[in-house]
Amino acid sequence: MQKTKFEFKLTTPFKFSSGGTVHEAERLLLKEASNSNENFARMQQAFIRAIFGNAKKSKQAIEDSQQAAPEATEGEKPEMDGEAMYLLLLASDIDIIEFKKYFRAMLMDKEDPLCIIEDMETMKYETYAKMSRQDTDRLIGEYIANFIMASSNPLLGKKSAP
């Protein structure tokens, strides 16, 4: 069964408000986007573009992506970690600034919020801005590894695990 959520541990905790008091965030819960979350499709498209990058190498890229990213299942960690995945994006031709904007908008979708802080509050723009750059980059990478890559594998020609 494909993963629907995963926990993300912050290396740099940040403060957030809940129930009238200030708390320290050390972990986030990330959920898979629903079908109504349009930014997921934008992320997926950008990711596929990053994989293909250079059209001449597309065949190799497909093979590489299939080998590097077996579909993550519930309770399992994806083989590629967040940092490696983020590095893959940086090395590609995609506009990383735009990509980050889509990612942030996807997490904070009003109908479908995807990030819960310490099981208490959904992520807001102001709390997102408090996350360290390193954690933000790693979070983007891990979200891709856990959800976007898994949902892209069938499109790349790999069959989902039974």
Binding site: S17, G20, V22, E121, T127
Partner: protein, 132 residues
């Protein structure tokens, strides 16, 4: 030369709020103290200091424009009772200021004037602020 702090930011429950300029007022929640005299006779007077802890609560106020989103926000905060956190921040060339008020409630029965220049004045009360 120093610069007057005149453009503070207000965050309520981690959401930045647009406020009416020059409408923020806050106290340090350090309450009222009294200094009274005690006479020992022969012209000797000593001082008695007392701290009225009843007043050791944080209070502040600010105003919002009476727009529909702001009316909804104020209503939500009011309904939260004292389950709000408000952070007031300010920056000048000389440095920055942060006051964090926890467990604060809107204590006034605020009015919503549906007029062209209507503002909603919110008065808050809660724990003493932490400063940084």
């Amino acid at each position: 030369m120093t610069t007057q702090l005149s453009d503070p930011g207000v965050e309520v429950n981690d959401v930045r709020v647009g406020i009416v300029p020059n409408s923020v007022e806050f106290d340090e929640g350090m309450g009222e103290q009294k200094v009274v005299a005690e006479s020992a006779g022969d012209g000797v007077v000593t001082q008695v200091f007392s701290n009225n802890v009843e007043t050791n609560l944080g209070e502040f106020s600010f105003e919002l424009r009476a727009t529909l989103p702001n009316i909804a926000l104020a209503r939500t905060w009011k309904a939260n009772g004292n389950q709000n956190v408000v952070v007031i921040t300010g920056k000048t060339p000389e440095g920055s200021l942060t006051r964090t008020y926890q467990q604060v409630a809107i204590v006034n029965n605020y009015k919503v004037p549906p007029t062209a220049d209507g503002v909603i004045k919110l008065q808050w009360k809660g724990n003493q602020p932490s400063a940084s």
